[in-house]
Symmetry: C2
Subunit: 200 residues, 2 copies
Amino acid sequence: MAVTSTAEQGRTFIDEGDPADHFFNITSGTARLFKSLPDGRRQITGFAGRGHFLGLAVSNSYAFSAEAIEPVQYCRFSRAKLRMMLDDFPALEKRLLDVASNELVAAQEQMLLLGRKTARERVASFLLARRLESAACVSPAVHVHLPMTRSDIADYLGLTIETVSRTLTGLKADKLIGIPHPSEIIILNHQGLTAQAGGH
Amino acid sequence: MAVTSTAEQGRTFIDEGDPADHFFNITSGTARLFKSLPDGRRQITGFAGRGHFLGLAVSNSYAFSAEAIEPVQYCRFSRAKLRMMLDDFPALEKRLLDVASNELVAAQEQMLLLGRKTARERVASFLLARRLESAACVSPAVHVHLPMTRSDIADYLGLTIETVSRTLTGLKADKLIGIPHPSEIIILNHQGLTAQAGGH
DNA sequence: CGATGAATTGAAACTTGTCAACGGCAGTGG
DNA sequence: CCACTGCCGTTGACAAGTTTCAATTCATCG
């Protein structure tokens, strides 16, 4: 029924369009969630970490793919099992509704970013969101870790690798951030970076 | 507790950022749902018609605004009342979870559109989606009604009014659609239009 | 019929994408 | 141990799609 599995880095463990037989709960690691166009263009709709639920789709096929960017451990249920659990534990249903509502709010925020923000605003927003995620405190934890590649960031922000790279370089030139390592960003001027994020 | 109200055209009946005290169920009309940036840029995250639920937010403030583009009738509940109803009718919770899941899938599709599709692909996708919505049948119901302005379409597709207009003109020039009236589109070549929508 | 706002069209500017070259780091194998 | 190889990231020059600004036409309504 409920099976615990591991997906090594790079492994696609959910395929867009496949029959949505299962429901996933990530217990460790990070995955990218994405949709693809026939010609290969890709839009990453989010990054899923510990505690995330995947496969809520009502339809009978997955609406997106999921791929491990760090080794991912997850717990997998059949849909039948999920239905049984929902019947047995009404609280779980409430929890899932909360989760879905939150994701919906996040999705709307991302639509605003993709539809109306400039490249600089997108990257600044991304860094600030990442910071919130890594350090849930309000500390001067100016250190942001990026487990994903520039390609992932680009596909998440609706930009190209080059624009992401140039924009990060530009933010560094303006002394808003530091880049000790491609996957490590230091926020030097939080207020200034917020001002570049286009409000909100 | 549950109050039925009407919002005349142009009326904003949900304000982004306001305390999320109520939950809405639209019984007739159409509303635009949108988020705004401080400088006035706007992203429409969706259009809500008959049967739509609004205000699912978990947080204590609305994540978006809602404004009537046609006179909108809705049923309004206090959050407390909603909670009571959810306790009394578990089926309602299932229903809301289904609704939220579907909206999430739609939101992800929209992210793909906003992040990775060209103007022409966006407009073609929009027309096809509208057609599905207006005529739920597979008939040659090539007639699509657009109750929203070009400005709304632009803010929904992450484009400008001018680009939307030019793109529609272009599709007409290619004999894929007809435009008897700005708010009435006729799909002349469904297959061809689908090909322009960028797959999916 | 005139007035007002929406929609269309045109020309120029700008942001971002594309193509290409280069540099750096890691893993591999001689 | 060190060259080799491949991938990732950065940088540059140029092209392209979309936006901006402006003018014109078209619908709606009093």
